[in-house]
């Protein structure tokens, strides 16, 4: 156990947890931020995706001690980023969500993609999103929503 500072969605949080606790557990069980989902626990489904300095990572496989000073963004905070806001709007416009369980992770991966690749083509979308699994099979709408967000106007 050791006290550590985490920067989550722009806020400083202090947690007292074992070094090897996965970041996902810290978010959900310690901080009560349950928007990030637990899926497989072995980085094979993408439901637990959050950002670390803007890069998409699987929080179920990340020991909290490895975070360091990097800024964490979760589904609770992604709407405050420009790309995140565009992705969320496109998600609503395309009515992407079915059951919704995987969608926090889908939105996190999609907004990380858009931040580095403003106009992704199908190969770019595959390269960024293939590790995010959706049991409802919303892949077609996910792809359409990413393209809509890429082409859409910046929200004001």
């Amino acid at each position: 156990m050791s006290q550590r500072q985490l920067k989550i969605n722009g806020e400083d949080k202090t947690v007292d947890v074992p070094d090897n606790m996965p970041l996902l557990w810290v978010l959900r069980d310690v901080l009560g931020m349950t928007g990030t989902k637990y899926g497989c626990g072995i980085a094979q489904c993408g439901a637990c995706t959050v950002h670390l300095d803007g890069r998409a990572i699987r929080s179920c496989q990340m020991p909290v001690s490895a975070v360091g000073s990097r800024a964490i963004t979760t589904i609770e905070g992604i709407g405050k980023t420009p790309t995140g806001a565009r992705i969320q709007k496109a998600w609503l416009d395309e009515e992407v969500v079915q059951c919704g369980y995987c969608q926090s992770g889908q939105i996190m991966s999609a907004s990380a993609l858009l931040a580095t690749t403003p106009k992704p083509d199908d190969a770019d979308i595959n390269a960024a999103m293939a590790g995010n699994i959706c049991r409802c099979g919303t892949y077609v709408r996910i792809r359409a929503a990413i393209k809509r967000a890429a082409e859409g106007e910046q929200p004001t």
């Binding site: 070094d19 090897n20 606790m21 072995i42 980085a43 094979q44 993408g46 995706t49 670390l52 890069r55 998409a56 990572i57 699987r58 496989q61 990340m62 020991p63 909290v64 001690s65 490895a66 580095t116 690749t117 190969a123 770019d124 595959n126 390269a127 293939a130 590790g131």
Partner: protein, 451 residues
């Protein structure tokens, strides 16, 4: 035929036999080659005559431990557990498979069960097994049991290990029958093999070297038996110490060159890197230990006292360079975008982007932990792709001090073709030269590492 003629034939025959004997002996001596610590070149002295700190037994910081705890420390240093336990089995109950080209050998039960284990072994029986490779019933053991290394162990240390094993709960577990083909199923032949290849002598310190070096030599040779995997074998399947630590293999995995060679060995590593790798299974920018080395770290090396780890490092680093045919230059990180860098092999890329990219990233530098970084690891910079394929099949558990990380095993979820292609893609994208594994190669790798 007259007497003189018969005498002449006999004489010629005798000369031929004598020449063959001399040639055979010379060849055997040549094959046997130098001993494991002969590279140091200093004068060897008997342990009793060595003036500095005794290099054997347990470290000074453990001197107050009771006899069974001492034996436990030594048994862990000798890594008895991994080979004498199956993945799902009871500890030390045997049954671990060594899959060889000519059949499979199974390890045996070394719990103190009187019928199926070693419960009836006397001290002398135990020493004969550890030092000479001879069972209580007089039969020879196959050198999958590294008795040519353990032979350097002192009687006292071997018997401490026995005391520890005898403190365990007896497990009833009969030995599984080996499946070796002729002539490898002829155990008596191991007697001849041993006559040539087992020195059957105890550790002798090198008086020209420091106490730390000698401690490292004892730990590495008599206990940890590093060379059994990392030293190549000669045509007699014995260790070829002319190329000591130049790289060998272990259960379908490659045990890479750990000699001082700067390119293909670990000559460019720092001492701290080597200590971190063997002590925690990872050194930044050098990758993480997986497969048999991962097990050696978790069950043996990580349990050693810091001074013993340092001694092993001091010793291993003194082994002269032996170059092997691995690429000397390691590849830098791949580009961050999937569009740049190696792009051929659509099948391998497809598997990578679905199953691997979320941790390893397109550049090979992991965000979640340096343990998952591919850049700089020998496995991805090995054009055979063998260890990459094995890690994909079996997964990898890491023994980090600040948290465990596990790569899942993909052997059950991907076909041999998919595993071959993803290994080929990974070695091409993150290494110096891509591998060209086929479906059949992966099938063979699976067989070799299967339990």
């Amino acid at each position: 035929m007259g007497m003189t003629q018969r005498g002449r034939v006999l004489r010629v025959l005798l000369i031929v036999v004598a020449v063959l004997l001399v040639a055979g002996t010379a060849f055997a001596i040549y094959l046997r080659g130098p001993g494991p610590t002969d590279f140091a070149g200093g004068q060897k002295v008997a342990l009793a005559e060595y003036k500095d700190t005794n290099p054997t037994s347990i470290p000074a910081s453990k001197k107050s431990a009771d006899p069974i705890q001492r034996g436990k420390y030594l048994a862990e240093a000798a890594d008895c557990l991994v080979c004498h336990t199956t993945p799902d089995g009871q500890q030390y109950a045997g049954g671990f498979a060594f899959t060889l080209p000519f059949g499979t050998i199974y390890s045996t039960n070394i719990t103190p069960d009187k019928e199926t284990g070693i419960g009836n072994y006397t001290d002398q029986d135990f020493l004969a097994a550890v030092h000479r490779g001879v069972r209580k019933d007089g039969a020879w053991m196959y050198p999958a049991m590294p008795f040519t290394s353990y032979t350097y162990m002192t009687d006292e240390d071997a018997l401490a290990i026995k005391a520890y094993l005898f403190s365990l709960t007896p497990v009833r577990a009969p030995a599984r029958a080996n499946t070796l083909t002729f002539p490898f199923n002829q155990r008596w032949a191991i007697g001849l093999w041993s006559a040539v290849f087992n020195p059957n002598k105890r550790f002798q310190p090198d008086s020209s070297k420091s106490a730390e070096w000698n401690r490292g030599a004892y730990l590495s040779e008599a206990l940890a038996h590093c060379g059994e995997c990392h030293t190549p074998r000669n045509i007699g399947f014995a260790l070829n110490n002319r190329k000591k630590f130049g790289g060998g293999n272990a259960g379908g995995w490659l045990a890479y060159n750990i000699s001082a060679d700067k390119g293909s060995g670990i000559g460019n590593w720092s001492d701290d890197d080597v200590a971190a790798y063997i002590g925690h299974g990872h050194a930044n920018n050098h990758g993480s230990a997986s497969g048999p080395m991962g097990e050696a770290v978790s069950e043996s090396l990580s349990r050693l006292e810091p001074e013993d780890l340092r001694a092993i490092v001091a010793y291993v680093r003194s082994v002269p360079a032996t170059s092997s045919d691995l690429p000397a230059q390691l590849a830098p990180p791949a580009p961050r975008s999937h569009r740049e860098g190696f792009a051929a092999n659509a099948r391998g890329k497809q598997v990578f982007e679905g199953a691997c990219m979320s941790c390893h990233n397109w550049d090979g530098v992991a965000d979640i932990s340096p343990y998952a970084t591919l850049t700089g690891s020998r496995a991805v910079n090995d054009p055979s792709g063998i260890n990459v394929a094995q890690i994909v099949i079996t997964g990898s558990a890491s023994w980090s001090e600040n948290g465990s990380l596990n790569m899942p095993a993909f052997g059950q979820t991907y076909s041999n073709e998919e595993i071959a292609e993803v290994a080929n893609y990974v070695t091409a994208r993150f290494g110096t030269q891509g591998s060209s594994l086929t479906e059949r190669d992966v099938a063979s790798l699976r067989r070799q590492s299967a339990q």
